[in-house]
């Protein structure tokens, strides 16, 4: 599997494809650059994982560490809450994306429009279409796919990654201490 072909190879169709964030540093730079970031966490963060750890565990810690407000979609909300992250909003992904496409939408906390949106854990096809919608409908927004599956429609995407590589990339980018959970 190439690291930067769509994770579902048939999900092609763009002339512009996301640069892959191969190194933690590149992702960390985006996190630093964000003035009004948002992290969207979907239900598949509850099924992706390894060695007794789930993607949502890492992402919750990342959100806390970086101080990024979180939007929970699907049924990720309660799982975030038990990990100490109270979602700024619980909302269906499409509804959220539609608001994000409005450059005047004041964001999940009403503090002003978001500039960077990190997305993880929707099903692949849903994340793909949502990022396509934002690419076309929200040119003012930088989108970053944090799922372990390459998303061509994002502004930036992680490459296709197996769990250990994904784990270490996220941990490295957000500076999470490497203590096993």
């Amino acid at each position: 599997m190439s690291r930067t072909e769509p994770w579902q190879p048939a999900m092609q169709g763009g002339t512009v494809t996301a640069p892959a964030l191969e190194k933690p540093g590149a992702l960390a730079a985006l996190v630093r650059r964000a003035r009004r970031p948002l992290l969207v966490v979907g239900h598949r963060t509850l099924v992706t994982g390894g060695d007794g750890e789930l993607a949502i565990d890492l992402l919750a810690r990342a959100a806390l560490k970086a101080g990024i407000p979180v939007a929970a979609t699907g049924d990720a909300g309660p799982a975030l809450a038990v990990r100490g992250v109270e979602p700024a909003i619980c909302i269906s992904a499409m509804n959220l994306a539609n608001r994000l496409a409005d450059p005047a939408w004041p964001g999940v906390d009403g503090q002003g429009p978001h500039d960077i949106v990190f997305v993880a854990g929707l099903s692949y096809a849903l994340e793909w279409t949502l990022l396509s919608g934002l690419r076309h409908g929200a040119p003012h927004l930088v989108t970053v796919s944090l799922s372990p599956a390459y998303e061509p429609h994002a502004s930036f995407s992680l490459p296709n990654l197996a769990w250990p590589a994904w784990r270490s990339l996220i941990a490295g980018a957000f500076g999470l201490e490497e203590a096993a959970p």
Binding site: G74, G77, T129
Partner: protein, 770 residues
């Protein structure tokens, strides 16, 4: 009126004979009907544009391009990304709407063509003057959608031809708008999508009323029989015929041939997809195998002795699969000839001989009656030759898996196939078998495996699916009396909603989720309707007492009923029920009065469509027909691939103003319903959405408080907290669920909530009212 056909029949004219006959009579109904015609009988594609634009101003399309490119003409491909226009000047947004229109046209054409073939066939068999009777004495308003849209009240099969001519003309107009260099505006494209959807429901109603009437299906019968569903229900000792598709005449001919020749019980007639449902409406002895996703596994099982395919949702490789399994095929539809030789005109004996000796693998027979005879006789002769497929050494085959992951990356449901296959390779085959429940049977995993592992075949081999479920067969229309009983409670909001689970089987996690949602909402005393593949999926679920929803809940259109209207074409009875509420309960005139009635349904009838596995262009058209009536539709995550959502912005107060007909003032009513078309990520999210989308501006406080309590409850189950938008749905304190009032009031006040009136709501200007 009878005089006319004779008169015309006598005239020497240049028209062809058959056509002339159809024509001279097809145009007129008999009897008188003096309801005045509304403003838009047989509306053109622009006649309801104003209504559409009102809806679409609230529910603006959010585009989700599947492709930056357009490849529709030889100027292309054009790259429409980054705001670029194509060589014809089109934008990406308009292009997405255009493709949506194309899909809606294909869907509507499919139903219209289906209806046309059905009506022509039934006229051939039963005569032009055969009366329409979808519900006996229980149904006076026989074709609410046709009456609403066309301003016609058909009485005979022949009258339906007039309706279909209208539908055909409209589809052609709409399709023409997708040509390069026609429509430029996305919202105008969307308006045409809505028009296509409206026409689609007309065609659906024509098709189902025709078949219910002529083929003596259950007529609006809440007690339609329970029938068997599942491979386990099949007596494999007998000869087995399998019918796949949607257009029931060949299947009916099979059943009729059996009956006429005293062979009932001697041959198992089994079906997949809507034909399966419809043939159990003809004869409860027919067996439903399952929805569309069962094609591969059932054919590969080798059980069917003969395969009859008609049209729609038929796998394109069915013939190859059947040949490999040693099963001869009869294709029966002009729309799916599969390259087979047309032997319609040959004598039945020759066809039986050719099929049963294996001289040919298949043939095209375009005469349903002949198919009936040939299929039965050939299946009986094939039975002794049935080839039981060798049992697979699952472990050995699976052990070749290198874990490359190509199968999961090809799988629409993103199932963890590599893990399950590798486990099976180690001898743990149960997990692999269990995955079949969430498999849509598409076969893509097999296409990509570098080891040549037929993953789906392996899953099927690992799963012993001998379960038998009970499903209530399609009852057809809703009775006028049922409408009279529930119309008030629905419009007042006291029945928390009507939820219809419709459409195909592109499920994120198998039919299980549909079954669970059906049960959940029935328990909550919504009126639950089902149709098509969803009706079958809903049956594949048992409660603690081992009952399927059809055994547990009543088949009445009532709070807590689970109403299988029938096959996909029966969906017209669901929209029809909403329209009938406007007519029977609220006494609105239907005839050619679309906008007023849609405005009524939109503001007052808390109906929600759920197409959890929506796959096809037909599903797109059906959904659009609901939208134009103001009925929101929720789809599963794959529904995002329809390329755009129609989403409201609950946070924009100005979007939610309506005119209060009592005061003629613009008043805020809150975001009800919040969206017209939305994909949900998970079942839990869908349920919270459904409960919310069932709210309507017209809800009484009692009704709203009931609806809110369901919403709050399902929202909390999904999100683990209180909804943050309650203040938008609560008009007065009386709207609050009593037992939660103390908990909720502070929440509202924190959001600056204040009381507001409950209006007599309309989106339309005064002059639009009749």
């Amino acid at each position: 009126m009878k005089g006319i056909d004779i008169h015309i029949g006598e005239i020497a004219s240049p028209l062809g004979r058959v056509r002339e006959l159809r024509v001279g009579i097809g145009r007129v109904g008999s009897g008188t009907w003096d309801e005045p015609v509304g403003p838009t009988p047989c509306p053109s594609p622009t006649a309801l544009r104003d209504w559409d634009r009102r809806l679409l101003a609230r529910y603006r399309p959010f585009y989700l391009p599947l492709c930056d490119l357009c490849c529709l003409c030889t100027y292309g491909k054009c790259d429409l990304s980054g705001g670029k226009r194509g060589a014809c000047g089109i934008t990406l947004a308009a292009q997405q709407s255009r493709v949506a229109l194309l899909a809606a046209c294909i869907g509507t054409a499919t139903h219209t063509s289906h209806a046309r073939e059905l009506v022509s066939h039934l006229i051939d068999r039963y005569g032009r003057q055969f009366p329409l009777d979808p519900g006996g004495l229980a149904v006076d308003l026989r074709m609410p959608i046709v009456e609403l849209v066309c301003g016609l009240r058909p009485e005979t099969l022949a009258d339906l031809e007039t309706v279909l001519e209208y539908c055909e003309g409209q589809v052609v107009h709409l399709l023409a708008a997708t040509h390069t260099g026609q429509e430029a505006d996305p919202i105008d494209f969307e308006s045409k999508v809505l028009h296509a959807g409206m026409i689609d429901h007309v065609a659906l109603e024509v098709a189902d009323v025709a078949q219910v009437s002529a083929l003596d299906f259950p007529k609006a019968d809440p007690e339609a029989p329970l029938v068997d569903l599942g491979i386990g229900a099949i007596d494999r000792e007998k000869p087995v015929v399998l019918v796949v598709g949607h257009n029931v005449p060949p299947a009916v001919a099979i059943l009729d041939y059996l009956a006429a020749h005293g062979l009932e019980g001697a041959v198992e007639v089994t079906g997949i997809c809507c034909t399966a449902i419809d043939m159990t409406r003809r004869s409860p002895s027919a067996k439903i195998v399952g929805p569309i996703s069962w094609q591969l596994r059932y054919i590969r099982s080798g059980i069917p002795d003969l395969l009859v395919v008609d049209e729609q949702c038929v796998r394109a490789d069915l013939f190859d699969e059947a040949r490999d399994a040693g099963i001869p095929v009869i294709a029966t539809s002009a729309k799916n000839c599969i390259g087979l030789p047309d032997r319609t005109k040959e004598p039945a004996d020759a066809l039986v001989e050719a099929l049963s000796t294996g001289a040919v693998n298949g043939m095209l027979v375009l005469d349903p009656e002949k198919v009936g005879e040939v299929a039965v006789r050939a299946a009986i002769r094939r039975r002794p030759l049935r080839r039981v497929p060798p049992s697979l050494d699952i472990e050995a085959i699976a052990s070749a898996c290198g874990g490359c992951g190509r199968c999961i990356r090809a799988c629409p449901t993103e199932a963890d196939l590599p893990g399950a296959v590798q486990a099976a390779g180690r001898g743990e085959i149960a997990a692999l078998g269990a995955m079949l429940a969430s498999c849509v049977g598409c076969g893509r995993c097999e296409e990509v495996c570098p080891q040549g592992i037929e993953v789906h075949r392996l899953m099927a081999a690992a799963c012993d699916d001998c379960e038998v479920y009970a499903v209530r067969t399609g009852r057809g229309a809703i009775q006028d009396v049922e409408i009279r009983e529930v119309g008030g409670p629905i419009v007042l909001g006291e029945i928390p909603g009507v939820v219809a689970f419709v459409g195909c089987a592109n499920y994120p996690d198998g039919g299980r989720e549909v079954a669970e949602m059906v049960t959940e909402f029935a328990k909550r005393r919504f009126v639950v309707c089902t149709s098509g593949c969803s009706a079958m999926a809903a049956a594949m679920h048992r409660d603690e007492e081992g009952l399927t929803p059809y055994e547990r809940f009543s088949g009445r259109f009532e709070a807590g009923g689970v109403v299988n209207v029938g096959s996909c074409v029966s969906n017209a009875h669901i929209s029809g029920a909403a329209v009938k509420i406007a007519s029977i309960f609220a006494k609105r005139r239907l005839r050619g009065n679309y906008a007023e009635v849609a405005d009524y349904v939109y503001n007052r009838v808390g109906a929600v469509g759920v197409a959890w596995g929506a796959m096809s262009q037909k599903a797109a058209a059906i959904a659009a027909g609901f939208w134009r009536l103001g009925i929101p539709v929720v789809v599963g995550p794959h529904g995002a691939k329809y390329r755009r959502m129609l989403l409201g912005r609950q946070d924009c107060d100005e979007d939610w103003m309506v005119r209060d007909r009592r005061t003629d003032e613009e008043v805020y009513v809150g975001p009800v319903p919040e969206h017209l078309f939305i994909a949900a990520e998970t079942k839990e999210e869908a349920m919270a959405l459904i409960a919310k989308l069932a709210m309507r501006p017209n809800d009484t406080s009692r009704g709203r408080s009931i609806k809110l309590s369901h919403y709050i409850d399902l929202y909390r189950r999904c999100y683990g907290r209180m909804p943050d938008d309650l203040h938008r749905f609560v008009r007065t304190k009386a709207d609050l669920p009593v037992i939660q009032k103390d908990e909720l009031l502070p929440l509202l006040e924190r959001n600056g909530w204040s009381e507001r009136p409950i209006p007599d709501p309309t989106l339309l200007p005064e002059e639009a009212y009749q």
